[in-house]
């Protein structure tokens, strides 16, 4: 894969979607890092960024944030403020920002909502679209090239964008975030978005999910610990181990269907590619593997020596997770204190 060059060879303008704008998560910092390797970076938001968010954007070299001004009647017709995050509204904003800045590249995170917004943006602009890039670079002619990990992490593919504008969603942990050499002052620039209709979609209710305090988000965590059927419904050992290593907690689809946990890792759930994945009591069905096999290091604990997950592991323990995980957590806590 062509790695992003530290000094861009072309004078590109790269827009990074910042949504929500209340906090700048590690995934956004990764997008900004990739963007700096491609050109000059500007951000696009649907709401006012916080002071903390602006400081972080400045540290990552963003001079301008385009903040959408969506007509209030358009929002009111679509259910009020909650409609701000609907893909057609986000897409109208991104398209308006590309037109204003004459941007060459748009980068967005790999959430389902951002993927749809990216697709609609590319549709409106006649741009090329790449979903879930794992690497972004350029070819000899300066065209944007994206690398993807497909078929449950078993194949690497690359594609080149032939259109003038490239819109890409980039999966988390594609790069290690790096601030700019020197921070810059960040200005917020209002961006009028006229055609922000939702084609009749109305948000009738929206309940924002509470995130587990003190733990990173599953999509973006560098370390993920997941529990499956083998937990028998008790996620205590999984959570204890996760907290010892500073990991996010996830589950298999089976465990979620049993009602033991709320979010599952899998090809139709959350797709992750962390630095370290630890699966406990997870057999490794194709569905689950499709959501985690691109992880850099894979570790499993399972009492069944025949569990298919052992075939894709770097390190594995055949044993009872209620013995293995607390023991490992205790050793790691001691190591971290020392």
């Amino acid at each position: 894969m062509t790695e992003p060059t530290r000094v861009p060879t072309r004078n590109r303008t790269v827009l990074v979607l910042l949504d929500p704008a209340s906090e700048v998560r590690s995934g956004t910092l990764e997008l900004l890092t990739i963007a700096r390797g491609l050109g000059r970076v500007e951000a696009v938001t649907l709401e006012a960024p916080t002071v903390e968010a602006l400081a972080q954007l400045g540290a990552y070299g963003v001079e301008t944030v385009h903040q959408a001004e969506v007509p209030t009647d358009a929002l009111a017709a679509a259910g009020g403020d909650a409609a701000r995050h609907l893909p057609p509204v986000v897409a109208a904003t991104l398209a308006a920002a590309v037109r204003r800045t004459d941007a060459d590249v748009v980068l967005a995170p790999a959430t389902f909502g951002a993927k749809e917004a990216a697709a609609l943006t590319a549709h409106a602009l006649g741009a090329g679209l790449v979903i879930d890039a794992a690497a972004v670079g350029e070819d000899d002619e300066g065209r944007v090239v994206a690398g993807k990990r497909v078929f449950a992490g078993a194949w690497d593919t690359r594609c080149v964008v032939r259109a003038d504008v490239a819109v890409l969603t980039v999966r988390a942990n594609a790069v290690v975030p790096e601030p700019a050499d020197a921070p810059v002052a960040t200005e917020v620039d209002p961006l009028p978005v006229a055609a922000a209709g939702t084609s009749g979609v109305v948000v009738t209710s929206r309940e924002v999910k509470e995130r587990a305090a003190g733990r990173p988000t599953l999509e973006e965590a560098a370390v993920v610990v997941a529990g499956g059927r083998g937990t028998g419904g008790d996620f205590g050992p999984v959570e204890e181990f996760a907290d010892a290593v500073g990991a996010a907690v996830g589950a298999s689809r089976d465990a979620v269907f049993e009602g033991w946990f709320d979010r599952y890792i899998g090809q139709t759930g959350v797709t992750i590619a962390p630095r370290l994945y630890v699966g406990a009591g997870i057999s490794g069905a194709p569905h689950h593997r499709g959501g985690m096999q691109a992880s850099q290091v894979i570790v499993a604990v399972n009492s069944d020596p025949e569990a298919p997950i052992f075939e894709i592991c770097d390190f594995a323990v055949v044993g009872d997770l209620t013995d293995v995980l607390p023991q490992a957590a205790a050793v790691i806590r001691k190591h971290r204190e020392g």
Binding site: G113, A154, D156, R158, V297, C313, D314, D323
Partner: protein, 268 residues
């Protein structure tokens, strides 16, 4: 009520999936109906099942796919589940389509169905195709048709010309509504697809599959397929195999061994 379910022919995720050159190898030996489309078919059939009998009689579910002739496997399976009609859009000009080419072909198929008959109230898809996992075609079909898209539905309700869905996004639990006609994608948590019964399995063997070409649909060959694609695959290679697994059988020190592995490799 007239519903089109867009289905896809994909390699079985349990098979050894591969590329030939830069394109997905569609070996008919392992080709199947995208599993997530069964949720879409089930959602369509349930909407019809809930109608009064006279309305049900006047209703139709059409399975629509863009695929080479091998894709009939996916349409036969759709017949087994209970669709009334199946259409395959097949054309060499469509090979190598990007998301936009695929969406344009599906939308053209829907419009063609409407020219020949009643308006299509709903286009339903699964939440993703298990080969590409892009999840963007439903929104693009809606954009092509100029209709609202409600995607990733966990709960679906159609009443009085309004589609209402509940869905779980990464950020929130949402309820969304839109007027028909609309495009809907359903999550794999939306329902449990029915098992085909013997009668439908037998009937599916002889049901007629209609085949349309790109020109039948008025698609410009230069705007779809590899010719119109705005991205071009330039390489596809299998990942190197992972090194042999380091396996420890727990005899009281398994947790310590795990911790030491992580510490040794600077992973914690």
């Amino acid at each position: 009520m007239r519903i089109v379910v867009a289905v896809k022919y994909v390699p079985d995720i349990n098979a050894d999936r591969r590329f030939t050159g830069c394109r997905v190898d569609r070996d008919p030996g392992v080709g199947t109906l995208n599993e997530l489309d069964e949720n879409a078919l089930e959602a369509a059939l349930r909407i019809l099942d809930a109608l009064p009998e006279d309305e049900r009689e006047a209703s139709e579910v059409v399975a629509l796919t863009v695929a080479p002739a091998e894709g009939d496997v996916a349409l036969r399976k759709s017949f087994q589940m209970g669709v009334d009609r199946a259409v395959r859009v097949t054309d060499d000009a469509l090979a190598g389509s990007d998301y936009f080419g695929t969406a344009a072909a599906l939308a053209a198929g829907v419009r063609r169905l409407e020219e020949d008959g009643a308006p299509v109230d709903l286009v339903i898809t699964g939440m993703a195709a298990l080969d590409g996992l892009g999840s963007v075609v439903p929104a693009l079909v809606a954009a092509e048709l100029g209709r609202p898209a409600l995607t990733l539905a966990k709960k679906v309700d159609v009443a009085g010309g309004t589609l209402t869905v509940t869905r779980e996004t990464d950020e929130a639990t949402e309820t969304l509504a839109a007027p028909l006609p609309a495009v809907l994608s359903v999550a794999d948590t939306a329902n449990t697809p029915r098992m085909p019964n013997f009668k439908l399995i037998m009937a599916a063997r002889t049901k007629q599959i209609e085949a349309w070409s790109a020109t039948d649909l008025g698609l410009d060959p230069a705007a779809v397929g590899a010719a119109g694609a705005r991205t071009e695959a330039i390489s596809a290679a299998p990942r190197p195999a992972r090194p042999e697994v380091e396996l420890v059988v727990d005899k009281g020190e398994g947790g310590t061994a795990l911790a030491e592995y992580l510490i040794r490799n600077e992973l914690v």
